[in-house]
């Protein structure tokens, strides 16, 4: 696609701006910022990826994966989840997710160990982990607030913080997995997943594209569960002190 053709797509942005100002939505500035940012970010990543793919060096590949994990962690940490020491817990979770899924995908030779595959799969897996982690932490926070008395009942009976948190963790893990499971159920009916669409447009055989997509879908299901379980296991002790007292600040 030529740059000229690409610039024609700006017409869509123009339509959005006209609609926003016509309906007095006041979103014109945000639309312009969004368009500019996405253009710059995607162009940069395009050049970076094409450089890394041609260099074909594991060093660049690893740096790139670390950047992905760093950006995703930053996205989770900057939301005010009010959990002390959340940063390292999030990084450990995402690193574990990445390590486990790569071990599996590369170990079973489902994908070849080249930057082209490793980086794209890592992006999708870590990105989905990030969404799950945010869902999980929001839900955990809400449940601890509304079910504080139940936690106190278990603690007052001499139960451990782990025993007191078990039902809440279970609830939060479930809640964080449901959107992933739901979207998996409708996949192919409602939306065609982005990666598959891209491959098909790029000229790949649709059957082949579907196979790759299924690999992604299955690994996302597994990482959804793993993310919440690992993060839950790491995060809940931060809500308690040495005397098994709940000290969560709203």
């Amino acid at each position: 696609m030529s740059l000229f053709t690409l610039s024609l797509a700006l017409v869509f942005v123009g339509v959005a701006i006209v609609l926003s100002s016509g309906l007095k939505l006041g979103l014109e500035k945000d639309i312009v910022i969004a368009a500019v940012r996405s253009t710059i970010q995607l162009l940069i990543i395009g050049y970076v990826l094409s450089f890394i793919f041609s260099a074909d060096s594991p060093v660049f590949m690893i740096v790139m994966v670390m950047l992905i994990i760093g950006a995703a962690s930053q996205n989770i940490i900057k939301r005010k989840h009010n959990i002390p020491g959340l940063a390292w817990r999030v990084v450990v979770t995402l690193v574990t997710i990445e390590a486990v899924s790569m071990l599996f995908l590369l170990g079973l030779q489902i994908i070849p160990p080249s930057p082209r595959y490793v980086i794209t799969f890592s992006g999708m897996i870590v990105g989905s982990s990030m969404v799950i982690a945010n869902l999980f932490l929001n839900r955990l926070k809400a449940e601890v607030q509304t079910r504080k008395e139940e936690v106190q009942v278990v603690l007052a009976l001499g139960g451990t913080s782990r025993q007191a948190m078990q039902p809440i963790l279970k609830g939060a893990i479930r809640a964080s997995m449901i959107p992933t499971i739901d979207s998996t159920k409708t996949m192919g009916l409602v939306q065609l997943p982005g990666m598959m669409t891209g491959q098909i447009i790029g000229g790949a055989d649709p059957i082949e594209a579907v196979r790759f997509q299924l690999v992604i879908v299955f690994s996302l299901l597994a990482t959804a569960a793993l993310t919440s379980i690992i993060l839950g296991r790491l995060a809940y002790p931060a809500l308690f002190n040495e005397y098994e007292q709940l000290n969560y600040k709203e």
Partner: protein, 238 residues
């Protein structure tokens, strides 16, 4: 002991150098306007909160020197609302047994002891009335066989008949097991009926402590006299 809380403007003193002793096997009733720090005292006794100054001694040992789980099994706490966990009455009743892998007597016997019918065991706990919940909550605490009981306004959310029922149940428990009881109540008549000793707490200070009979018949402090006339609880409620 003392307790502070950090709030917006700095430290808020909730308890100021309270010194008091609950004699083993006795019932101490703790009264005072709301917000005076009664619940805070109870939470300090089973280390649900930590004192900021001073010490809390339970059976000769400072609470922080106890194994916290053993301390809390030994010092049972019943909350005002009788909060039930999700699940059946039986799940709630056997909670402590499950937490600590204890052998318990038959659930039917426990139910009978606290005045509930066996048939209720399979019901969802949140469907019970306030009084029934409070009975299950007490039974749930008793499974740990605590030698000390902390009661936080366990009858104040109940209608008079249910409140009286719970009060009688607690007295029965006390007579059968000789527990030491620290009983927070807003009901002065109740404090008079059940207490061996009574303490009055106001704004984080222990204003008066005496045996219950003299507390009510010959209060020493002018503040206590005003409180007993009901002048002060109104003030605090506002």
């Amino acid at each position: 002991m003392s307790k502070f809380y950090e709030n917006g403007e700095g430290k808020e003193t909730v308890l100021q150098q309270i010194t008091a002793k609950v004699p083993a096997g006795s019932i101490v009733t703790l009264v005072g306007p709301s917000g005076s720090g009664k619940s805070t005292i109870l939470s300090l006794c089973n280390l649900l909160i930590t004192p900021d100054g001073g010490r809390v001694i339970v059976e000769g040992k400072e609470v922080r020197d106890w194994n916290v789980h053993e301390l809390r099994r030994h010092v049972g706490l019943a909350f005002q609302m009788g909060t039930m966990l999700l699940g059946t009455v039986k799940d709630n009743l056997l909670l402590a047994a499950r937490l600590h892998q204890l052998e318990t007597e038959a659930t039917e016997r426990i139910m009978q002891y606290v005045g509930l019918s066996e048939g209720m065991l399979a019901r969802q706990a949140d469907e019970l009335s306030g009084g029934q919940k409070q009975r299950v909550a007490l039974a749930r605490t008793l499974v740990n066989r605590p030698s000390i009981l902390l009661l936080d306004e366990v009858t104040s959310a109940l209608d008079p008949a249910a409140a009286r029922g719970i009060e009688e149940l607690i007295i029965k428990i006390h007579n059968d097991r000789q527990n030491t009881i620290l009983w927070v109540t807003h009901d002065l008549e109740q404090a008079k009926r059940v207490g061996d000793f009574t303490w009055l707490l106001a704004e984080g200070r222990l204003v008066e402590q005496a045996d219950t009979a003299s507390f009510f018949s010959q209060p020493k402090e002018p503040f206590t006299r005003r409180f007993l006339k009901g002048e002060l609880s109104e003030e605090a409620a506002r």
